[in-house]
Amino acid sequence: MTMNKLTFERPIIQRINAGLPSKYGMPRHLEPLSHIDGVSIESLLQEFGSPLFILSEQTIRKTYREAYRAFSSRYPKVQFSWSYKTNYLNAVCNIFHQEGAWAEVVSGFEFQKALANGVPGELILFNGPDKSTEDLRIAIQHQSLIHIDHFDELYEIIHLSKEMEERPKVAIRVNLDTGIYPLWDRFGFNFENGEAWDAINRIMTSQKLDLVGLHTHIGTYMLSTDAYRIAATKLASLAVKLERKYGHILQYIDMGGGFASKNTLKGAYYPGTDTAPSFDDFAEAITSALMTSDIKPDHLPMLILETGRALIDDAGYLAGTVLATKRLSDGRRATILDAGVNLLFTSFWYDHDVRPVAPISDQSEDTTIFGPLCMNIDVIRSNMMFPLLKKGDRFVVRRVGAYNMTQWMQFITFRPAVILLDKEGNSHVIRKRENLETLNSQELIPDHLQKFDL
């Protein structure tokens, strides 16, 4: 007769904290995450190797449609523009373009990427301080929407317009005080000190440029929707002033991005899932400010949004394998993963949501989660309640879709493959895992260094 054996749980003893409030009230069970869109993470790791970035097409489209609905149900003309720097894998960009988003780029490289993806030049917004003369020339040729960052650029574009006998389409980037801190005054022209109005006047009097829009981008990871209301109100006042003085009607107001995702910022008391405003909240703040402004109803400009993080963060996962567990000198647990800050740049400012893939144990302990690099700063979470996994167990980090696949480092090891799960749950490699050849192909060895004897 065989007896059904009970499931074994690792033996654990924990000190009962009497007195001083610890960070942890009730021991909290960390739910494992075994599947993404119905596909087993374990099987993906087996097929594509570990670590592995996984993107959910379904989540990207759903999030995009949700954001679009929030704005378009409140405002007559809404246009999203995909922020390339947030994630410029071509497959990702094309999902957004299929959904109807234009491209928002901040360098010549990104501009070329957008063009190569097939985005018509006139639907590319060219932002940021990094535009070389050559970049500007190409942008002017393509009738792209150039968002001017500073006076040097403004004069250069006026110069180019004469030289090329073209009429560049431009907007100015405005920085303004929305009551939030820090004030992003390093980009664009300041509103409060009159610099933005100055820039507008110079564009209008030059008669060489076509002023099509106003742009602002008030910050990143914004938790306050009120700041957007203030910003929209101020931009609207500029638009009104412009129409009054020159009879010129703007085609668009670009409110930039910076909407918070549901990640939890380091140092935040509440989790991001509780504090991040919804698209409806942001949309309400921005659109109500525009609708109640003095802009004439039939002159309402198109509202452009460039939000990146909030559209893609939730769709990205980083899965991998536990390399080892150990105990630190003070008795705390340490778990070492095969993915570190080289792949998860955002762990410098987020307390990332790390989960086991398989149900391991209901018990969790105060654990430090390290990456694989031989560097002290390679810490994914400095302390979190986490079950003790063993070598070979799988983990997954949620909400890593924004910035990690553009800011990652090729350091010590190769960058992993990125796969996309389509709506049917089929997996597609959208960026191959790097190998020695990938990296060596960029290197050259002078003749006298070709050989050595040891």
């Binding site: 009962i16 904290n17 009497a18 007195g19 409030p21 960070k23 942890y24 009230g25 009730m26 909290r28 009551g179 801190y181 820090p182 140092g267 935040a268 008391y269 509440y270 989790p271 899932t273 509780d274």
Partner: protein
């Protein structure tokens, strides 16, 4: 008249040297002539004294910290509700309010009532928003700015004169006399309560406080002004006395009527030598010294529960002036079994 039977779940049972408002609120409720309450304690730590005060607290459950998020909190409340059928929930900690406000609709569906400020009222009175608040409601406030790191402080330092007050998002305030001390308190407070840290102009004068209750329609249900007669080294009142002060009451009425404040509140004010009142802080809940209000004729905890239940509450129009409270500590003797039970099962 027959008393209304109601089960009230509340937190803040940490009746220690820097006490939470739980136990004083319970005393008010137990003394009510209109309510017959069963008290369910919600505790975070194994040694919160209220857990072991069985004459005041009928049963206590351990709950997860608000920093864990709304979901784990609601899961636990759902469980407690199944056992106890909670009628009214009173969160007594600032750090809980956001979580409970976010859950208000779900709690209501479960049959649990709360009587709290709205999210907008809550956000608007945040320490970091105080200057705006002052402007909007025409109340004098000290100059203050939020900072996220110490470099920020270097940048704005010249706008202030030392000493300055370094304040946490929810709790803690220290007077810093130089940059060194700002940095010490910044790190200390940030490690516990997160960012931002608020740097506030130090207003010289006497600290006076008001405990009050708004009905959410702009009416003041009750208000009792008090001056701390002795303050512990943690800045908490050791003793206090009720005051007759029409300026303080007027200010309270103005804040409540303009913000249409809903729920309990504590105004922290400084009265300068010129007899000007500065608003230092609005705590969006009843303070630990609320029992002084009960004893001087305004049972504000009772009013809070009645309002939560949707009852009409007639505003209190008087209180006894010159009533004194003196806080004392008392060594309760407990059985290790009780500690064992609460620390292993989370219920007692």
């Amino acid at each position: 008249m027959e008393k209304i039977k109601v089960t009230v779940a509340l937190s803040g049972l940490n009746n220690i040297d820097s006490p939470g408002p739980g136990v004083p609120v319970i005393r008010g409720l137990k003394e009510s002539e209109l309510l017959d309450v069963r008290i369910i304690g919600l505790a975070y730590e194994n040694l919160e004294p209220g857990i072991y005060m069985h004459e005041l607290v009928d049963k206590t459950y351990k709950v997860p910290y608000p920093s864990d998020g709304v979901e784990p909190f609601l899961d636990r409340i759902r469980y407690v509700h199944e056992q106890e059928n909670i009628g009214v929930l009173i969160p007594n900690f600032d750090s809980e309010l956001f979580t409970v406000m976010k859950s208000e609709r779900i709690l209501k569906e479960m049959g649990i009532r709360v009587f709290l400020p709205t999210l907008q009222q809550f956000e608007e009175r945040h320490k970091s928003n105080l200057p705006e608040f002052g402007k909007k409601y025409e109340v004098k406030v000290p100059y203050s700015e939020p900072i996220l790191n110490l470099q920020d402080w270097r940048g704005i330092e010249e706008k202030f004169n030392y000493p300055v007050v370094v304040k946490g998002k929810f709790y803690d305030a220290h007077i810093a006399y130089d940059r060194e001390q700002v940095s010490i308190y910044f790190n200390k407070i940030a490690a516990k309560w997160g960012l931002p840290i608020v740097i506030q102009e130090f207003i010289r004068g006497t600290e006076v406080n008001v405990v009050a209750m708004g009905d959410g329609k702009g009416n003041t249900i009750g208000a009792v002004p008090m001056r701390k007669t002795y303050i512990t080294d943690k800045g908490k009142a050791w003793g206090g006395i009720t005051l007759k002060d029409s300026a303080m009451l007027e200010l309270t009425d103005r804040v409540i009527s303009q913000t249409r404040w809903r729920g309990g509140m504590e105004l922290e004010l400084i009265r300068t030598a010129k007899q000007e009142l500065y608003l230092i802080e609005i705590n969006p809940r009843l303070p630990a010294w609320v029992y002084l209000a009960v004893a001087s004729g305004q049972n504000l905890p009772e009013a809070l529960v009645l309002l939560a239940l949707g009852q009409e509450v007639k505003p209190f129009d008087e209180y006894e002036v010159g009533k004194l409270f003196i806080r004392y500590s008392y060594d309760m003797i407990c059985d290790l079994k009780a500690f064992e039970k609460f620390s292993t099962t989370g219920e007692l």
